[in-house]
């Protein structure tokens, strides 16, 4: 009997727990992956940073149009080309009640450089920070850096006191003394939402921070419940059945289903990620081809022939259900440095393609193996299949090797020795600035200076290198943009890459919910309104 009363009590408590107070607005959403950690310095990945952006904040924030707006800093200016002064926001409190001061900024910057951190690149954008007073700091950069504030948007600020109290002054790591430390499962930020409970890969509940410094944020949500749902059909079913208010990503082939169902709709917008094809332009003989003794991709005509053989509109219509934005440039319109005039794709012209191949000495085409991920980008493998059949029509026989991302990246990246001849890749500049695309993808590979390390096919042009270096330190925006344009123009003339499209963001939302779809696929709860 005693046991039974105990059980009833447990049921009653559970029942109480699910009935919510009157005014509360709960927003439930599901994403395909999970929040692997709550530590803002643990992983430089868009979902983690996007989600933690509701809990932690940087000195600056991105608004819903990816524009930089003041965050924990109210203003900033350059004193010399390499020193910046930041005025910090006064009166901001962390969720635990601690005051936000200059010490927290310095502490967080140091923490981002600690061993387990995956934010070292962002941390390294600053050489030193000096505290002038509690609400003023001076940051020195190693070299003039026109886009410093963009680097700071995802460098989240933690409280020094709290971190010291809980022994989490270094980023949580998978090894050593800092493995799985306190900040991995607990959070204390300044953002509009606070973590109520977090079970990795099961459920995360966040509550509105009533003391948030910014009072005029649109949201009316008091509680956010996040569940990862790995399988796409289950995710879509959970949305249609009304168990969650928002899911992403939704497979593009399911859009029609969402449109036909009551009370839900598909929400599509262009993502800032550009999908493109790259070719090995540095080896004297391709690793995977029937052409021996020379590398066809070294010939601009062959690269141009490839460009003209690929029908981007067909990929858009057939593979992406009309949702992609075909592109001719390596950066998306949301990226600083994008130029409309360069965005026209190479014309689809199979005849010209055949002629170019013949001119280059391959009238019957040739064979090449293409590397492609099959679970990384929207319909990645299908894009590769479409490209394979389009190239077949001009005589190029492509052997497609589509693999899961862990296998694919292990092969084509530097770790695998750039073991590829022809590949598909996607890239969103982490700083939302074209310089990142130039220095990672387009300049010559250089292991010492660590530039061009994601230029897997090693497209290399010294003029582009000079321009990219100058772009990195030029603080005059007009001059800087002119140089970016020039570099992209050379790349385009030489057909260094074959841009395909900006892939679509694909969310499903129920009708009662308004959200803002940010181009980096982040869900910002500040803009979520539930009816």
């Amino acid at each position: 009997m005693k046991l039974r009363t105990g059980l009833f009590a447990a049921v009653a408590v559970a029942a109480l727990a699910v009935t919510s107070p009157v005014q509360a607005k709960t927003f439930k959403f599901a994403f395909q992956g999970d929040l692997s950690s709550l530590d803002p310095h643990s992983l430089n990945e868009s979902f983690l940073l996007g989600t933690l952006g509701n809990i932690y904040e940087g000195l600056v924030l991105y608004d819903n149009n990816m524009q930089v707006v003041p965050g924990l800093a109210v203003s900033w200016k350059t004193l010399t080309p390499t020193t910046w002064e930041f005025k910090l926001r006064e009166g901001v409190k962390f969720h635990g009640g601690q005051d936000f001061t200059a010490d927290d900024v310095i502490f967080s910057w140091q923490r981002a450089g600690s061993e387990g951190s995956d934010q070292k690149v962002r941390g390294a954008a600053i050489k030193n920070i000096t505290k002038v007073d509690d609400y003023t700091i001076i940051a020195e950069t190693p070299a003039p850096n026109p886009i410093l504030v963009r680097d700071l948007a995802f460098l989240y600020i933690m409280d020094k006191e709290w971190s010291e109290e809980h022994g989490t002054t270094n980023a949580t790591s998978a090894t050593g003394d800092d493995k799985g430390n306190y900040a991995n499962l607990n959070a204390n930020g300044t953002g509009p939402f606070m973590v109520e409970s977090h079970q990795a890969d099961i459920k995360t509940i966040m509550k509105k921070n009533e003391n948030y410094w910014k009072k005029d944020i649109p949201t009316n949500v008091t509680e956010v419940i996040f569940t990862p749902i790995k399988e796409a059909p289950t995710r879509v079913a959970a949305l249609i059945s009304g168990e969650v208010d928002l899911v992403y990503p939704v497979p593009v082939q399911d859009w029609q289903r969402l449109d036909e169902a009551d009370g839900v709709k598909a929400l599509a917008g262009p993502e800032a990620r550009t999908i493109f094809l790259g070719m090995d332009q540095s080896r004297d003989e391709l690793l995977y081809s029937n052409i021996k003794g020379k590398n066809p991709f070294k010939d601009q005509k062959v690269r141009a022939a490839f460009a003209h053989a690929i029908n981007l509109d067909a990929i858009k219509e057939k593979v992406m259900r009309g949702a992609a934005t075909p592109t001719g440039e390596m950066v998306a319109p949301q990226i600083n440095g994008f130029v409309e005039s360069l965005n026209t794709p190479y014309a689809f012209d199979p005849e010209k393609s055949k002629a170019l191949l013949a001119e280059a000495g391959y009238p019957d085409g040739f064979e090449v193996t293409m590397d492609c991920p099959n679970n990384r980008y929207v319909n990645d493998e299908k894009i590769c299949q479409a490209v394979t059949s389009m190239l077949a029509k001009v005589g190029v026989k492509v052997d497609l090797l589509a693999q899961p991302k862990s296998k694919y990246f292990g092969k084509v990246l530097e770790t695998g020795g750039y073991d590829t001849s022809f590949y598909l890749l996607g890239w969103t500049p982490g700083t939302m600035d074209a310089e990142n695309a130039l220095s990672s993808l387009i300049v010559c590979q250089n292991k010492e200076t660590k530039r061009g390390l994601f230029n897997l096919g090693n497209y290399c042009n010294t003029k582009v290198d000079e321009l990219a270096a100058a772009v990195g330190s030029e603080t005059d925006q007009t001059k800087r943009n002119a140089m970016i344009t020039e570099a992209f123009q050379i790349l385009k003339d030489e057909v260094g890459y074959l841009p395909i499209h900006q892939q679509p963001l694909s969310w499903g939302v129920s009708d009662g919910v308004t959200v803002s779809q940010r181009a980096d696929n982040a869900l910002d709860y500040r803009y979520v309104v539930v009816k």
């Binding site: 059980l7 447990a10 049921v11 408590v13 559970a14 029942a15 727990a17 699910v18 599901a30 999970d34 692997s36 950690s37 530590d39 992983l43 430089n44 990945e45 387990g116 995956d118 070292k120 690149v121 949580t172 790591s173 998978a174 090894t175 493995k179 799985g180 991995n184 499962l185 079970q199 990795a200 890969d201 099961i202 459920k203 569940t227 990862p228 749902i229 790995k230 399988e231 059909p233 289950t234 079913a237 959970a238 059945s241 009304g242 168990e243 862990s406 296998k407 990246f409 292990g410 990246l413 770790t415 695998g416 890239w427 982490g430 990142n436 990672s440 292991k447 660590k450 390390l453 994601f454």
Partner: protein, 324 residues
Amino acid sequence: MISFIFKRLLQSVVVMLAVALIAFSMFRFVGDPINNMVGQDTTQEEREALADRLGLNDPFFVQFGRFALNAAEGDFGISYKYREPVSNLIKARLSATLELSFVAAVLTLAFGIPLGVYTALKGKSLISKAVMSLSLIGVSLPTFLIGILLILLFGVVLRWLPTFGRGDVVAIGWWTTGFLTVSGLKSLILPSITLALFQMTLIMRLVRAEMLEVLRTDFIKFARARGLPDRAVHFKHALKNTLVPVITVTGLQLGALIAFAIITESVFQWPGMGLLFIQAISDVDIPIMAAYLVLIAFFFVIINMVVDILYYTVDPRLRADSTA
């Protein structure tokens, strides 16, 4: 008996070591774990330093030896992805998987055996024929598809049952249970049916085949000749004699229920070990994969041992052999 159990436990250690060894030799083909642990901007040097710290550059047998030694002390390492001890992660999910498998096993036996007996005895009735043809669906449709179809029908169209997750759970120590809340019980229905369906039809067909076999034997004819009532003939004599193979298969299938809950768990986003494992494969989270496989091997060994012990109680001939 005690020496028997002891021997079995010793064997289980060998089995688990063998599983760990095979698992480890396969991990090299899963892909590069580092790439899943860092963002796109992370430099090559940092990637290599991380691989070094994780010991991924050590020779194969050094890595395996380290794993085996730590595992012997109950330490399965730190998940690469969650940066938490694997034992904590598994502990948090064990209850979900075991509850699901338990309900599925109960469903399997509660429906499988009676239906098997019924279809064997009343082979010509319409109901038997209907059950037999329906069981074909259970055997032939993939679990994934059954799960999705159930979600569509009961979750999306009728909206009677939740489409994913475990509902609200009550924590009793580290064990979380869904048996005590309405939403927890409702959440159990679809996944457990999905998981049980294949096993249920398998057990049913097995019981039916065995029953038909036994019913043809002489001692059943004698029993009937002695004028025993049908009920006693069917259940006391016939059914009891079919049970040895049924127990073997049921035991193995119970292991399979736990192990193959992977698919059901991922369709229903059931927060169990199988889901953890399948995530770990795509993230190349070696510590989780290794621990899971070893644990499953352990379950199989234990279940087999229990099955062997059950033989003794069901079949008197075995008892006679062992005393002789």
